[in-house]
Symmetry: C2
Subunit: 222 residues, 2 copies
């Protein structure tokens, strides 16, 4: 391969990384805005998050197509091949995170029409943690940083614990006052969605460790 082609291949990979980080940034913003629309009872913001889901979908389709082009034109092997095929898996995860954000905002929109059940403390804390996990998982991917990916996998535990705590607390509300059940169920859904977004980050991180180390820890850490 000529020097020119190699240089432009590097530029292609760099551009692919940039596109994934851009898509990631959009999704991270959706996580924080979805929770903000709940905490600040901002239904207009909830509508915006729901609308942004389409934008995430367009990113997924475009990045997928770009990866197929790179595979067909560049015929990569080894690490580059793993990188590009992993990019295709990662955008699928990101797209589903976008879906979950839109769904959380739909629940927020419903909750905003009823009296607040309780002040939200643990859910915003979870959301911050989860947003960082998505960001770090993607940084680990583009930088090939397996140490950062290991950190993401470990942080998943914290989110699981916060979710358990939220579930227990909401359960207590429901038991003590059945008139809270409908609202508590919606909050349960939001808390579980955050926990599932953390699972997506963990899935990404485990695949990154495999890409970097060449061995599979996907099913040994659990």
């Amino acid at each position: 391969m000529s020097g020119h082609l190699v240089a432009s291949y590097d530029a292609d990979l760099k551009e692919l990384k940039q596109r994934i980080l851009t898509m990631g940034g959009l999704v991270e913003k959706m996580i924080s805005d979805a929770i903000k629309s709940l905490v600040e009872r901002d239904t207009e913001l909830a509508e915006q998050v729901i609308a942004r889901d389409h934008e995430v979908n367009s990113h997924e389709v475009a990045i997928d197509e770009r990866c197929l082009e790179l595979l067909a034109l560049r015929q990569p092997t080894g690490r580059d091949l793993r990188f590009i095929t992993l990019a295709m898996k990662i955008v699928t995860d990101l797209e589903r995170v976008g879906d979950k954000c839109a769904n959380m905002s739909k629940r927020a929109r419903q909750l905003n029409q009823e009296p607040p059940l309780k002040p939200y403390i643990d859910i915003p804390r979870m959301a911050i943690q989860v947003e960082v996990m998505i960001k770090e998982a993607l940084d680990a991917f583009v930088q090939g940083d397996d140490q950062l990916a290991v950190k993401v996998c470990k942080d998943d535990q914290l989110v699981d614990e916060l979710n358990e705590q939220v579930q227990r607390e909401l359960y207590t509300y429901m038991i003590e006052d059945p008139s809270t059940i409908s609202r508590a169920m919606r909050l349960t859904y939001i808390s579980k969605s955050l926990e599932r977004i953390a699972d997506h980050a963990t899935n990404i991180a485990e695949m990154v460790i495999f890409m970097v180390k060449g061995k599979d820890i996907r099913h040994t850490l659990a």
Copy 2:
């Protein structure tokens, strides 16, 4: 490429398809067994489903590796390239379906230790529907059958409706008798898990339509 190489490439693709169907068969069995462990209160079967999750994970890793080998050695383009990269996405979906089956069996194991809340009618009906959707999505993939894939996308609606119905019914139980809340919440979780498995089938089907038609309907059917 020599005739020999072409023939062996066809054999490679055929073998890849077979491996995906085998993994799919395992996952379909896990769906029906997870629900059987609930309906028949069979905790031993629940344990078996939980244990089988590891087997699904091994399939995922092995098929992923095989796809990377085929990409590196055969350097496919066009339709074969789409097929193999899609196989890599699909096994990720199947692995996560396996996770959900294991989690449903964990809830069944808990429910089996308490008095039954109610006879299960809609949940087994959903499970049958969902299992068929996974099977048909994979058949559509290996046969390149976009009509079958369209059917899977449409069937998702039925599962969503059954899930809504189950959620409403369980909500009524909780409101009327708070002592049922803990059991009803576990059943809510199982019903939602089935609905999410149907979403995985739909995701697979949408990607198959894209593979066959070369255009993206992933985000237009919703």
